[in-house]
Symmetry: C2
Subunit: 203 residues, 2 copies
Amino acid sequence: MRSRSATLETAILGLLADSPLHGYELRKRLNLLLGSFRALSYGSLYPCLRSLAARGLIEGQESPKLPPHALRAKRSRIVYHLTADGKEYLQDELSTSGPAAWEDENFDVRFALFGLTDVETRIQILEGRRSRLTERLELARESSHGSRRLDEYTSELQRHGLEQVEREVRWLDSLITIERDRRRARSTARDEDRPGTDVKEQG
Amino acid sequence: MRSRSATLETAILGLLADSPLHGYELRKRLNLLLGSFRALSYGSLYPCLRSLAARGLIEGQESPKLPPHALRAKRSRIVYHLTADGKEYLQDELSTSGPAAWEDENFDVRFALFGLTDVETRIQILEGRRSRLTERLELARESSHGSRRLDEYTSELQRHGLEQVEREVRWLDSLITIERDRRRARSTARDEDRPGTDVKEQG
DNA sequence: GTTAGCATGTAAGGAGTTACATGATTTT
DNA sequence: AAAATCATGTAACTCCTTACATGCTAAC
């Protein structure tokens, strides 16, 4: 039991939170959301949907044929929607901000679902991701000038990889700034007379 | 049979082509070569080494204790080196330039081993990778303005992803230029009187 | 009439990981 | 004496893909 990937499950629940969908359509949106260049296979998707349904987080109802005025009848499809339990479960997931949220496997999905996440959690995830990446940069730099020098092509690959990571850090910086502004705007709107006192700067 | 990943196998053979190594040390170099941020597990490495040895591509000999004048005795380790078959196999692999060489899973390893690859193959792989990436960019662009507009965060994620891909294309462009210069230098050195006629420009 | 797209599903397999098991040596 | 690093290995499990199986509808 529990063999389904948390990442995929979260992505599915996140999409279904927006609107009910059937598997085939869900896959297309998932491919956009995940940004993965290879499409998710049905062999992953359908068993995952069944598992979610079995756990009562989503519920599927067959819609055999569209009403006669609709042009395309198609094969009967199973439209899934979130249950109350599913909504609760998703909200719980989206309010957590531990390492699980900012590691490589999950960050993209969590970010794509920022629309359903509160500002505070968004900032925590972005900052967590940022420090994860800078940690990597430091590790890579000390290992590169510490140990023996690499082959020409290997080191070029390394250099390019680090450059991409640096760029991602700058991207995160700009996002963090935006989210902090949003938080400030929110708190200023809440109590207009006092200036924001809990806005901390880092590094 | 044949359950081992071609990517990992190639990486191992490539490193062993440079110098014989034992598993533990091999893993460290593999982590540099693969540039993967999570270290390769022993659970992957050792079975792969056994499989390569069983197929006669590498051969391991136990070096129980270092000679008495060496400081560190350590536990006995198995130092692997390429066999004649292994060298041949690796050369065959490194001279192929099909899609298998430029897809995501393999490109990094193939690039890191460019030092053992001839100029012509290097250029083919770089060009193959480049057209693979531009193909993706076109697909993503047409799908983004064709279908319905996305959530703010999803589209920002998409935008950033495409920017990274664009950057990689420019990186490839500069590498292709360098390799073409090398090829030109080689052919000019071979027959000095004739100017290079087989240097084709693309798009 | 055949290809392409819509729609759902299963079984087998591939490529890795984590957790476990063992043990020597070096550093703190 | 404890902890870190060196060194090799196995079993179970995870998460995904490919290939297969089915069938309907739309377009060429």
